[in-house]
């Protein structure tokens, strides 16, 4: 069909509008909550969250803090890619958090205990994440264990395993692992001078962000353009049909989880190999990064390119939330707002329907019919038509 579609009916435009609408509504509800807590400071608070690094007055401090947000955006983006890749292939990888944990453990151990170069550490994180993904995938393929269940279990198993492992490379006096700058300088991700050039001498920014964005493009390409993507999606949507047409459906399932896990694992390396933060070996909850990845994936409309922006936005308001304590609000308020936004994303379908209904009514009143009858209309035999007409009359006479 060569019919021209209305601009607002393009899937990309719709996905974007829906996400923006969710954000706006989330902010409004968040603002109402702020008003209830402390009416006087509410406006200041919401602008503080949204301003994040603009809260600093000096340009180079602004840039430096923008850099910090970007440093944390890279792992978040990787986690959201992990979730959306699995989701597009019909699996819900709630285990991105666990895969992120083993990725962190693997790269830190390689860096701090064995002093291996950064690219080896990166690959170790990738492999560790993939391995954890394979476990869930294999359980699903061969024992029909739901991936959500096995992923949640593995999240906790991996957290305590990694805590245990990294105890070997931690400071004696604190629960944190050694600083990369003292114990593993060879493992720093190259910063390519990006920090100096663009982000006010922020030494953490660098290769990580580039890798994450390249990963997003790669995932977009694999899902949409390749045979691998075609097979993995077919398997995810309908295992029986994949088997019927001769795909190796078990292999595909495991492959999906492996790629998904590798993305999350690599995400961890992209944070910890910058030296931005250390691992706390006494932590008793799975890092939020993996779960925020779910949020970012959905806010980004389950599109890898959309995920780049949604990951940045979520990290942006999360960091903005850290300013809240200074003006007398709990810092959790930014989490509240981001969770509101995510919650509203659950209504995406509903919003889309309402929106389309509005468009339909609008287009009808202006006279253009976007829903023109598409089926080829076969001319009925002339005698049939007359017969029908006769019958119609006959039917009405009685």
């Amino acid at each position: 069909m060569k019919e021209k579609k209305s601009f607002f009916k393009l899937p990309v435009v719709q996905a974007l509008l829906v996400s923006l609408f969710c954000i706006l509504l989330g902010l409004i509800i968040g603002f109402i909550v702020l008003l209830i807590i402390k009416p006087a400071g509410a406006w200041e608070a919401i602008t503080t969250i949204l301003k994040n690094f603009w809260n600093y007055t000096r340009t180079n401090l602004q840039l430096k803090n923008l850099g910090n947000t970007l440093v944390k955006t890279a792992p978040l983006l990787m986690c959201s890619l992990s979730v959306l890749f699995a989701y597009k292939a019909g699996l819900f990888n709630i285990g991105a958090a666990g895969q992120y944990v083993v990725g962190a453990g693997a790269c830190l151990y390689c860096a701090l205990a064995w002093h291996l170069p950064w690219y080896v550490c990166l690959l170790a994180a990738l492999a560790a994440g993939a391995l954890l993904g394979v476990i869930s995938g294999a359980l699903k393929a061969y024992c029909n264990v739901n991936e959500v269940i096995s992923c949640i279990m593995l999240n906790w198993i991996s957290l305590y395993l990694i805590n245990m492992l990294l105890t070997n490379v931690k400071e004696t006096t604190s629960p944190y692992t050694f600083k990369l700058s003292t114990a593993g300088e060879q493992s720093f991700l190259p910063n390519l001078g990006m920090g100096d050039a663009l982000f006010g001498k922020n030494q953490y920014t660098g290769l990580a962000l580039i890798i994450a964005i390249l990963a997003a493009v790669l995932i977009w390409f694999i899902l949409g353009k390749t045979k691998l993507g075609y097979e993995l999606k077919a398997t995810g949507y309908n295992r029986s049909a994949a088997r019927y047409c001769g795909m190796k459906e078990k292999k595909n399932l495991i492959m999906t989880m492996a790629i998904s896990g590798a993305l999350a694992g690599t995400g961890a390396a992209l944070l910890y190999l910058t030296g931005f933060t250390e691992w706390m070996t006494t932590q008793s909850s799975v890092p939020a990064m993996g779960f925020n990845g779910i949020a970012a994936a959905f806010l980004g409309g389950l599109n890898p390119i959309g995920a780049i922006f949604s990951s940045f936005f979520i990290q942006h308001i999360t960091d903005g939330g850290s300013f809240m304590t200074k003006i007398g609000f709990p810092s959790q308020i930014s989490d509240l707002i981001s969770s509101l936004i995510i919650y509203l994303c659950g209504f995406v379908m509903f919003i889309k329907l309402t929106f389309n209904g509005f468009l339909d009514r609008h287009s009808k009143s202006t006279g253009t019919n976007v829903n023109a009858e598409p089926a080829p209309v076969q001319e009925p035999a002339p005698d049939a038509q007359t017969a029908v007409a006769d019958n119609k009359e006959g039917g009405n006479e009685e």
């Binding site: 993507g229 389309n356 829903n371």
Partner: protein, 518 residues
């Protein structure tokens, strides 16, 4: 007692009228200015192909959809039906094609579900039971009120559904394809029940695409085609041929025309094949041997559940065989992968189009290349999909095989009607130019037009010198299409027949296990 005709003469007013109903969905007008008027005490059939808009119209009447245009009148007064509760309040009841019953509840519990008589919060089942028994006697609906739904026959489940409507004192009864799940005897019973109901003054809307049944039971028939209203006719003044022409828009041939078969070399050889069963410990297929030659249609007949499904799984590789040999074009494929068999020239129209045949969340074009996506034409260097080639190939198939859908090649397979989904599968499997076509119930649940079309395609495939293995539960189909009939009973082939030299009754005896060849 008044006959249907007399009622028409006496009653000038209508029980329900749907006037100029228009309902649109993205990409398609499901109901385009449709008017249906149901007289009191008549059986009014609603006839149309799959996707003609029957279900949408009924959903509008039931308040599940709101029409964009048009009004609904009950007893001459305009009413607004916002949800099924409104419909219930107006006395409109419906028996769905797939019953809405609670399996582990008794018949009585299901009937009173939602309108339970209670006193101080306690159920008063005694009155309900009396009322149900009275109704079942009045209309000849035999049920055991205390039997659990899961233990009773499909026919009795349907009677329970009918009693549900009667218990709620509904005046307008909608039957949505009620005979699809019934045996021939149960269908006769249902026809009688419907006549009784109409005689008692109930108005019945009977949705169907089975012409014989409409001719047998209805007073009038309204025909829809592609969402448009074609006309309403008196059954007494019409014929099956005319109805089918109204429904399909052209003359339909009820007989399949085919030349005598000219069998050539053997394509498929099955030798003492044994396939395990998934449901019980015994083997489902017990040492079956037969062959299929080029240019003939071999048909496996039998009652459902006698190992036909497993036989096909064994041949196509969906299930491993326990023992025996399968050869395709003389090559042993007993343990070959599904992909290998498919590449070597085996096409498979599967029994369950939603489970195996389609990836419903894929677009039509992606489904069209499901068996060939890895070929050079569609996949460059076995990495990159060639979207342009896929599109043009899909569009070619869509045109050639007349697959209709809302948005052409990019329509989601899920949103297509069953008949067009099946046509897409048939197009995909036949266009691969296979040596052997395995077709399992290829016309299940389809309407006359689509059945005629698919039968023609299967015969054409045979005439091109391919071997066809057809598995069917419909004896009419078996008789019309096959060049050779194999009857399967309890996992074994109990007889081989020439369709010209056997009648349906004899086949029936073999299918029921009452007779077998030495």
């Amino acid at each position: 007692m008044l006959s249907g005709k007399d009622v028409i003469l006496l009653e000038e007013n209508y029980a329900i009228e749907m006037l100029n109903i228009t309902k649109r969905f993205p990409g398609i007008v499901a109901n385009d200015n449709i008017t249906i008027q149901l007289r009191k005490g008549e059986i009014h059939a609603l006839l149309g192909e799959n996707g003609a808009g029957k279900s949408t119209l009924m959903s509008v009447l039931f308040g599940l959809y709101q029409p964009e245009e048009g009004i609904i009148k009950k007893d001459g007064k305009v009413v607004s039906i916002k949800d099924p509760n409104d419909a219930n309040a107006l006395g409109i009841g419906m028996v769905h094609q797939h019953f809405k019953l609670v399996e582990c509840f008794s018949v009585l519990d299901n009937i009173i579900l939602g309108v339970e008589p209670s006193k101080y919060g306690f159920l008063q089942k005694k009155e309900a039971r009396e009322k149900v028994l009275k109704l079942s006697e009045q209309y000849g609906l035999h049920v055991d009120p205390d039997a659990l739904i899961q233990d009773i026959t499909v026919g009795m489940q349907q009677r329970t559904e009918i009693l549900k409507m009667l218990y709620r004192e509904n005046e307008i009864l909608i039957f949505d394809e009620p005979t699809a799940v019934l045996t021939p005897q149960e269908i006769d019973e249902l026809m009688q029940i419907m006549r009784n109901l109409a005689a008692e003054g109930k108005s019945i809307l009977f949705i169907s695409h089975k012409l014989n049944e409409i001719m047998a039971v209805a007073d009038r028939c309204s025909v829809l085609r592609k969402g448009k209203y074609i006309g309403t006719v008196n059954i007494a003044d019409t014929t099956k041929q005319e109805l089918s022409r109204m429904m399909v828009g052209r003359n339909v041939e009820f007989v399949v025309h085919k030349e005598p078969a000219k069998p050539g070399k053997t394509i498929l050889e099955v030798d003492k094949m044994v396939v395990a069963s998934k449901v019980h410990k015994n083997n489902a297929v017990k040492g079956v041997s037969f062959n299929v030659r080029a240019g003939e249609i071999v048909c496996i007949a039998g009652i459902d559940g006698n190992g036909q499904t497993e036989l096909v799984y064994g041949i196509t590789g969906l299930e491993p065989v326990v023992s025996g040999k399968i050869r395709l074009n003389g090559k042993d494929i007993t343990h070959a992968s599904i992909r290998k068999r498919s590449v070597d020239g085996m096409s498979h129209i599967p029994e369950d189009r939603h489970k195996h045949g389609l990836v419903l969340d894929y677009t039509l074009e992606d489904n069209m290349v499901l068996q060939r996506y890895f070929e050079k034409d569609f996949c460059a260097g076995s990495i990159l999909m060639r979207k342009k080639n896929i599109r043009s190939y899909a569009e070619k198939l869509i045109e050639q095989y007349d697959v209709r859908s809302g948005q052409g090649a990019v329509t989601s397979a899920r949103s297509m009607s069953g008949g067009n989904q099946q046509k897409a599968i048939v197009a995909r499997e036949i266009d691969r130019d296979p040596d052997l076509l395995v077709a399992v119930q290829p016309t299940r649940g389809l309407d006359v037009g689509a059945i005629e079309y698919i039968h023609k395609q299967i015969v054409a495939t045979r005439d091109e010198g391919k071997g066809v293995l057809l598995v069917s539960l419909e004896l009419d189909e078996v008789m019309a299409l096959s060049d050779r009939i194999l009857v399967m009973y309890e996992g074994e082939i109990v007889g081989e027949f020439d369709p010209k030299k056997v009648d349906i009754e004899t086949l029936g005896l073999y299918m029921a296990g009452a007779k077998r060849e030495g």
